[in-house]
Symmetry: C2
Subunit: 209 residues, 2 copies
């Protein structure tokens, strides 16, 4: 078996949110798909280790914020590389409450669901949610695909590719964030550099080329 | 609720195949996502009305062929706009047998699964499959996203966009396939035109602009 084939499955990038009592929490996920249209249902997959998983099980509700290509990359890190158990992920995030759940404004829309079924696997729960609310936030923004995240945002492919110039000529080197994998490419890593994905400082970067 | 938000969920385009006795069958689908990595499991969603659904339930096995942007568009129509109940969808399709299931060669890879769980909804079955085989067929081909299918292949956006020229100047008109929705754009619809998606002839096209 060649597991590289799994990379060819297409996904979006989502922030799945839920309530922990009175406190909003959430995590980054790439697994969401619509299952039926009438009534509209959506399946998501959340790792057992995510604090959000337990909150969804308790409250039987979750919201999906659909990230756009223009959404702030730091959202992915904030919700993806920290645990909601001991971090308030919403401190610096602008959100609205819809059907008593937090949805991220800097996205191309949201969907709120109540859990109507679930399926357990070794490491993840597949929640089936019936949609109770949903709206578009920024109709002009293209949804971010997981491929876009890997190729553009994680730095493997520059968003605004400069006119080609061999690396040798520019003496570019690469530094990789040891927390989230983001790659910085430049002549030097600035001392005050902050990872645009997960927010850590330059000390967490390692030269890789 | 604004159901337009559902269009912002990202998907790929897949041919899900199964065996009907000794006969291969399959259908086009956009709903597939990896759930766990060890053991690797994948969830797919198949409408009850698809003949393939019953075949998967009987045999407890299915294969996913992952279409690439370069895959023949006719594959989507062959597997998406006809029923496998009374059509041999594989007549003109090149396929290989892997783990006793047909996989489409003109794709960027395949995954074969045995069903380990399933969840019923009003109109669809969500099958959870444990991966028993998988490989990449054409590493250089980008996976086709559902957005690409709608924007490029269905004709809403030309693949090789010509230098911009107002439609008025070119006197272009649009014809829509009444079977699959493909849009032909040109000065005239050729009499011998065959829909590249579903294979019907020019009689099934209607002028829409």
């Amino acid at each position: 078996m060649n597991t590289k084939v799994f990379r060819n499955i297409s996904y979006g990038v989502y922030i799945i949110t839920a309530m922990d009592g009175e406190r909003p929490t959430g995590c980054t996920a790439n697994s969401a798909m619509q299952i039926t249209s009438a009534p509209a249902t959506i399946a998501i997959s959340i790792n057992h280790d995510n604090f959000t998983n337990g909150c969804i099980k308790k409250t039987k509700k979750f919201a999906i914020s659909i990230l756009a290509e223009t959404s702030a990359p730091l959202l992915i890190g904030t919700f993806g590389f920290k645990s909601g158990k001991d971090t308030d992920k919403f401190t610096d995030v602008t959100y609205e409450m819809r059907e008593d759940l937090p949805v991220i404004q800097d996205s191309c829309g949201y969907i709120v669901c109540k859990v109507i079924d679930q399926m357990e696997t070794a490491t993840h729960t597949v929640f089936l949610g019936e949609v109770i609310d949903g709206d578009v936030f920024n109709a002009s923004g293209q949804p971010m695909t997981y491929a876009y995240y890997h190729q553009v945002i994680k730095g493997k492919s520059p968003k605004n590719a400069p006119t080609y110039l061999p690396d040798e000529e520019k003496k570019l080197v690469k530094y990789e964030c040891q927390v989230c994998g983001h790659i910085y490419e430049g002549e030097n890593l600035p001392e005050d550099y902050i990872c645009p994905i997960c927010g850590v400082n330059a000390e967490h970067f390692k030269k890789i080329s």
